[in-house]
Symmetry: C2
Subunit: 354 residues, 2 copies
């Protein structure tokens, strides 16, 4: 641990949402301070951060001051403008690295990267115009989903195409953004692996969790997932392959579709992940601390699972159920301190320990 960042060092975090908030808490447990960079005012992470910069990602002076005030930079979301990354990278180490961001910021690049690694993905085709889309639909068939290549999350920037005559309308809905058409995968279940890779190249993965989405938003993650031992091993090996190929440092979320005969990679996220929140109640070292350990040069923590857990997101008005949830035993509640309740907004989550 000779390269370990000393206690009292400052970790810069791009993005001030709930992931940044929980990363800040984890950083404090290891004796570190955090500095949040976030364009929006009063972000959730600010409540537990040592310092906060409120500035857009286009503000070079603010970015420079931020880099000067921190020892290492990480992020809680992947859609950070390239210009900001270029500047920051010239001043302080960014972990996970740019290669991981490049592979996840663009769905087309991501899928090509995964296929090159020998990993299965949904069938896909690049779509820049109506002609591309018609060709893609002919090849992939319907139903299919047209997605923007960049900046999509929680089901945003996606249009379902059920028949070819919807092509033009679907394309119009994306306002001319570069897109990708993805075929449907006939899967039994969706799982995800939360993997981590340390500065020393060591890898530790948590037990895969099984996910349930509603309306494009994660509703629950349950561990253990109802998969075979073989599938469990394959999922972990596959995540390790991705982490190593990217020379990755930090925690990554890998979403997988489980079909009858294979694991298909749906998406990789170069950050702590909503499907890893269960680790707060089921492991000695949770995903947030694991990420902080990785980017500060600590040995990775013990990712062994010692409890069965179901994590449920509290979305929008779900938060009104908190008084009742608080009364039930074996519930660990996490609220993000967001003042305004909006439909679809993640307000908190509950880890129920079995």
């Amino acid at each position: 641990m000779s390269d370990v960042l000393p206690q009292g060092s400052v970790i810069g975090i791009l993005g001030g949402g709930q992931l940044g908030r929980m990363l800040s808490v984890a950083a404090s447990r290891l004796g570190y301070k955090t500095h949040i960079y976030e364009p929006g005012a009063n972000p959730p992470a600010a409540d537990v951060a040592h310092a906060v910069t409120t500035a857009p990602y286009e503000d070079a002076a603010a970015l420079r001051a931020f880099a000067g005030a921190v020892d290492v930079i990480t992020y809680e979301f992947e859609n950070i403008p390239t210009s900001a990354l270029d500047l920051l990278e010239s001043l302080k180490p960014i972990r996970p690295n740019r290669r991981a961001l490049a592979a996840s910021q663009d769905r087309l690049v991501e899928k090509a990267f995964l296929n090159d690694l020998g990993l299965a993905t949904a069938p896909f085709a690049a779509v820049d115009d109506l002609e591309d889309l018609r060709e893609a639909l002919a090849e992939i068939g319907t139903p299919a989903i047209l997605k923007t290549r960049r900046f999509g999350y929680d089901g945003k920037g996606q249009v379902l195409i059920e028949s070819t005559d919807q092509a033009e309308a679907a394309l119009a809905e994306l306002n001319g953004a570069p897109a990708i058409l993805e075929g449907f995968v006939d899967f039994f279940k969706e799982i995800s692996v939360i993997g981590a890779r340390g500065l020393d190249g060591s890898i530790s993965c948590y037990d895969p969790g099984q996910n349930k989405h509603e309306g494009g938003i994660l509703r629950t993650t349950t561990v253990p997932a109802a998969i075979t031992d073989m599938q469990r091993t394959d999922a972990v090996l596959l995540a390790a392959k991705i982490l190593t190929k990217l020379d990755y440092v930090g925690v990554m979320g890998v979403e997988l579709f489980v079909t009858r005969d294979q694991l298909i990679v749906n998406e990789i996220a170069p950050r702590v992940h909503n499907t890893g929140h269960w680790t707060q109640a089921g492991c000695t070292v949770d995903q947030f601390e694991q990420h902080i350990r990785a980017i500060t040069g600590w040995t990775l923590g013990d990712g062994a699972r010692y409890a069965d857990v179901e994590m449920t997101n509290l979305i929008g008005e779900d938060v009104e159920r908190v008084p009742q949830l608080a009364r039930e035993s074996r519930n660990q509640i996490h609220l993000y301190g967001k003042a305004e309740v909006k439909p679809g907004r993640k307000m908190g989550h509950v880890n129920h320990v079995f």
Copy 2:
């Protein structure tokens, strides 16, 4: 939960040490912000607090501004000057209440309170001068410990008296502070109960832990304690009796000596307690969250223990063992972000899960 403090409310914490730090983290999990009041600069809790006031407890203007900025006030140590409490209490609710503080700030008042409740303590006598001390030694015998009535912690303000001819020197060492002579208790083991009482009067106690001290400082707490079921039940009932009598709201630490035939109360602490740190690794809701739940009007959380844990304090240079401890599995490490290592200084702790 109609009186529950709404999300986004601010909890004022008197004291900015590691307990305040971990209370701040727990507050964030329930959607609250914290404001730390601490005379010293850059206290550990400041790293994870929404706001910090750096001012002495004698600064009425600072106290007033602090009270104006928070919704409820709590504290991480009991030796807060009375004048500060008088002022704050007139402006915002203080939880736990003054009665609890009065009973724990003065060893003489504390022991009288416990005896009045029918609970056993070590034999004791008030000592204001040499004559008192000689009489007390004649009654209690030696060895005995002369302690200041107020403001003692971690073995400070205590003198061991092994024979009566040490009386004068012992008294001189306390510089004329009002004192108490305590007889020794012939105990097998020391345990402590971390109990909580909610705003609604409900009570929840964690499983008693067994403590080992070295040089007057807590070294380890282990759960389960090696006690009988009867002792376990008695210890919890005894803690509940104290909580109810004080109309207490919050978490309290009750240190007990286990002798052959009874439980003797050593000390009560009206706050989260070092001997309750194990709850971070062994319970769904830890003592810090339990305290925040109590003082903000939440239902108390599930205090059931689901793992065996040994908590070890990292004192002074122990912190240099962290790289090795981080490599061992089932260790959960907590560092307090203290820049300077001093002998006897609590730098962090490790929860080892069995």
